[in-house]
């Protein structure tokens, strides 16, 4: 697994650099030596801890499989890696928020509530353990130093290859008092898709949690009436999951059969 991660790091870096040189480098075989990219100097990027999770694997260069890819790049294997957790200092008000959050958590001995913090593209993401989510949310809303009054809803993301953390629920919180915005991410495995509901803390999440349940099958424990909100009540399956096809029914057109969009040739 550790080899995988090194490779993953190597493969992910060129994607960050959009100049031609980097694109050329990418086609070369990655060596096993860790080497920091030039733009990852401390003043530009918070130092990653190196602990990155692969959320999937991409084969080939152009996404086609079988005879479609005649370029010779079909054997390439690249891990899909998300930005690595950051280390302190995060910079700016990020430190104030995370400091206040940690101070409050330490006072209640919930020191492991925050699994990691990712700072990427000027946005901060707190990965929170799902059982501690209601406590953290309550604190985010009520604490003097935090005051995140507005929750902009929850968005589900399904990572089928992120073993044990397939379902993610992503919340955006806005502090109008301090004019700040943070993201809180919680995960649940496919085998146990339960996340505590935040409706009692942020009533606005009522429909948002229903939508996420509708689309991903995430069950928000404690929601007053967790029913489908967009799809019909008797709809089978949860459409936004990655294992749920788009369409799935071939369409007849002038005698020919057009496959559903998910089975057509694709380029990624």
């Amino acid at each position: 697994m550790s080899d995988d991660k090194t490779d993953a790091n190597k493969a992910a870096r060129p994607a960050e650099e959009r100049n031609l040189e980097a694109a050329k480098d990418k086609t070369g075989t990655p060596s096993g030596v860790e080497q920091p990219a030039p733009e990852q100097s401390p003043e530009n990027v918070p130092a990653p801890t190196g602990e990155v999770r692969s959320v999937g694997v991409r084969h080939g260069m152009f996404g086609t499989s079988g005879t479609g890819d005649t370029s010779g790049y079909g054997g390439l294997v690249a891990a899909k890696v998300f930005p690595a957790p950051s280390q302190k200092p995060y910079g700016g008000w990020f430190d104030e928020v995370s400091g206040a959050l940690e101070a409050r958590l330490e006072a209640t001995e919930l020191t492991t509530a925050i699994e990691s913090v990712v700072v990427h593209r000027g946005e901060i993401t707190f990965h929170v353990r799902r059982e501690d989510l209601p406590f953290v949310a309550q604190m985010l809303r009520d604490d003097e130093a935090l005051r995140f009054e507005l929750c902009s809803g929850v968005s589900g993301v399904h990572y089928p290859d992120d073993a044990g953390r397939e379902l993610h629920a992503v919340y955006h919180f806005t502090s109008m008092t301090h004019n700040r915005r943070i993201r809180v991410e919680v995960t649940a495995p496919d085998s146990d898709p339960h996340i505590p509901s935040l409706v009692s803390i942020y009533p606005t999440l009522d429909w948002h949690e229903r939508e996420t349940y509708d689309m991903f099958g995430l069950i928000f424990d404690g929601h007053p009436a967790l029913t489908r909100v967009l799809m019909p009540d008797d709809w089978p399956g949860h459409p936004q999951r990655k294992d749920y096809p788009l369409g799935g029914i071939p369409v007849e057109y002038k005698g020919a059969s057009i496959p559903p969009p998910d089975q057509r040739r694709s380029y990624n």
């Binding site: 998300f82 593209r121 902009s152 809803g153 968005s155 459409p239 788009l246 969009p261």
Partner: protein
Amino acid sequence: MSTADQQDFYAAPGETSQGRVFTVTGQDWDSVTQSIGESAEERVVVNMGPQHPSTHGVLRLILELEGETVTEARCGIGYLHTGIEKNMEYRSWVQGVTFCTRMDYLSPFYNEATYVLGVERLLDIEDDIPEKAQVMRVLLMELNRISSHLVAIATGGMEIGALTVMTIGFRERELVLDLFELITGLRMNHGFIRPGGVAQDLPPGALDEIRDFIALMKKRLPEYAALCNANPIFKGRLVDVGHLDLAGCLALGLTGPVLRSTGYAWDLRKTQPYSGYEDYDFEVQTWDTCDSYGRFRIRLNEMSESLKIVEQCADRLAGLEGAPVMVGDKKIAWPSQLAIGSDGMGNSLDHIRRIMGESMEALIHHFKLVTEGFRVPAGQAYVPVESPRGELGAHVVSDGGTRPFRVHFRDPSFTNLQATSVMSEGGMVADVIVAIASIDPVMGGVDR
């Protein structure tokens, strides 16, 4: 009309055990009132919509009534769900714009803008967007705010019976749509704001048209004020209806005119500026009555403020003639160019000549970028914009591929519609319509 003892095609077994079911089809009111009179029950559950001229779109309301008082109001949504977010995962990043513009069909440019801003943040090209593209985005968004507010006021007026407000609202909106058509080629579903800039430069003569529009609107906007602001019938229907205070707004996540009608000046254009809004001179409009009338006045005032911004945009664009409207990065900007030909707008013949006759590499580049698209570094971004209805944001997730891994839109209509019950319970049936009109939900955005 039919009663429970007749066959009801839509009732499942046991569903009618709560009482008698009346199916109203119009022109049968006599028999309905007669039957209700016989049953002598005060509590009636009315299913209103989803096809109803007053529910502001395909919204279904389930109202529990005691006489004319609403004791419980619930919304049924999802009738316009088209799976846009799912579809976007099967198309390239650029094609995503074409999908999301169709969500909230009254404010297409905001859908495009929030998605594109998220993609640009992930691409890390936020600082490279040319100035002219920024100004054109602001121009289109503010024109769009005017057209959207006009429809909000027009349909809101129509729903309470003020048909003149409707006709003049749609008359002015048509002028805005004409400008959209001139600039983007389409009245709606533009797909015009693209990652990296905008699709096309301003066409010749557009600035003159915009200036004419500004001059005309400066005359016409005060007409709305003169028609409605002090109109006793209008005020009688709107004042103190649909009350929601600041605490209620924040708990239910309401933003936009509803939040500002509580006197709180929260506007993302001022508090968290994007696309260069910090450089424009305008005021955030508030009202302090927490009611539908306040929201109407805010929308009216915001149109004047938007007109001010449009005017400033026009002045800036006059000095930006010939400036680029797309990032210089050839790995992101589409190589395809459009030009006016003998049969209208189409592929630029110069570009076709170049890729077909001169440069094989240019042809490959064009083909690859258009079919496969560019890659966006893995990560997630959320860049909300202040749409006419409130905070509209796109949670954009990329796994490093050429297609969005997940895009979720936080649509203000969806969130704000949750306030229907608190705004209308305890009031009259007729006030439900006014309350919902003051939220101004667009069902295309609610259901996506």
